[in-house]
Subunit: 227 residues, 2 copies
């Protein structure tokens, strides 16, 4: 445990009575999954004091391969660094737009794909490929599981944030090497995600890309094989 938690469970230790999660909690968790969104439209209001630290602490409860805990986090507040990230996005997004043709190109151009300017919190997430933690367990044949562990931490943050009414937007239209350079992170930190956090302008159970006619939900049809 990292300590410092305020919630009842934070000091849980071996031998404690396991919690029982009832049907009501399962239903609320499903609502959380349904109303979590990849947010691109934020109110500029700051997060309350201490909330970001609490969210970062909760990230450390994510699963990780061999308990390697490879997530590394960078809060980005410096205006020049934020500008560098925005310029990185602009370059990559221009290239992406050039890859579309016809009506899809027009639709792409109209999408709002990031909320860098409005979001009060910018958080870059990396995976430390040089970590000794976990002693290599579980990642000999699948070294990518180190990156996956950082992704699991991102999702943990995402849900914990949404449970507090805070939206998260994941920006991947970036040159990863340039992000690492612009944020001057240590050698060996591999870029995973650039996250914007803040209160969303609106809440919706339907993904923005579905509402905007880009890509709807597919369900499970054709995605499950029995073997």
């Amino acid at each position: 445990m990292t300590g410092g938690g305020t919630a009842k469970g934070a000091a849980a230790k071996a031998g404690d009575t396991p919690p029982r999660f009832d049907d009501d909690f399962a239903a609320r968790l499903e609502e959380l999954l349904i109303w979590r969104r990849d947010v691109r439209r934020f109110r500029p209001d700051p997060l309350p004091d201490g909330v970001l630290d609490e969210l970062l602490r909760l990230m450390t409860l994510a699963p990780s391969v061999g308990n390697s805990q490879p997530w590394r986090l960078v809060t980005v507040d410096d205006p020049e660094r934020r500008s560098a990230i925005a310029a990185n996005f602009e370059r990559c997004n221009r290239d992406a737009l050039a890859g579309y043709a016809g009506s899809r190109r027009g639709r792409y151009a109209r999408l709002k794909l990031q909320g860098l300017k409005e979001a009060p919190v910018h958080l870059a997430v990396f995976a430390d490929h040089a970590t000794e933690a976990g002693h290599g367990l579980g990642r000999r044949t699948m070294p990518e599981t180190l990156d996956y562990s950082a992704v699991l931490a991102v999702h943990t943050l995402w849900l914990a944030a949404r449970a507090r009414g805070i939206g998260v937007g994941w920006l991947s239209i970036l040159d990863p090497a340039a992000v690492a350079s612009d944020l001057a992170v240590p050698e060996g930190w591999s870029f995973i995600a650039y996250l914007c956090l803040g209160y969303p302008l609106a809440e919706d159970p339907v993904p923005a890309l579905e509402r905007e006619g880009w890509q709807g939900r597919e369900g499970l049809g054709g995605k499950v094989l029995r073997r």
Copy 2:
């Protein structure tokens, strides 16, 4: 929506009143994160009818790059295929053991790293690299976000399962190409995770690898940079 949901939120649509998640829910969610485990010791009891289908449906609520929903799922019941997976693990684990020396080697040999034999449900997760869904949005500079999307679905399943008292164990000590071949999945499906699901023999807030002296929790120290 994929339809067929029983929980209140499953039919949510644009314009619905957003749910309010209170402090009690946030505290319960934290307990869920704390008591989620990478389970390797299962009771052999089957899951109740319909629960696996419900969990798979909930996976489709995960975020994905460009709403590409690239997760592809294989339930593995055939005894010969299960044996092939177990043999794959045995080979990879023998190689992994050979990579350790001294006391760490002995400790590795004593770890129970999978519950393939006991777990009633085996679920292999892939990412479809050939999917057209999402029209490439968000993954031009970071194609690995397609794999990350499948990882987000795994974590969604993990939490939803734990909320029902069901444990999940992620096995990565496998040769990915052999898994794809043994399960005869379509071309283009890239192996992400092999999951065992079932009721855990015991529940604990402390990771097994910490209890067994392999790797303890590190907290956030040294992992957060300010830029």
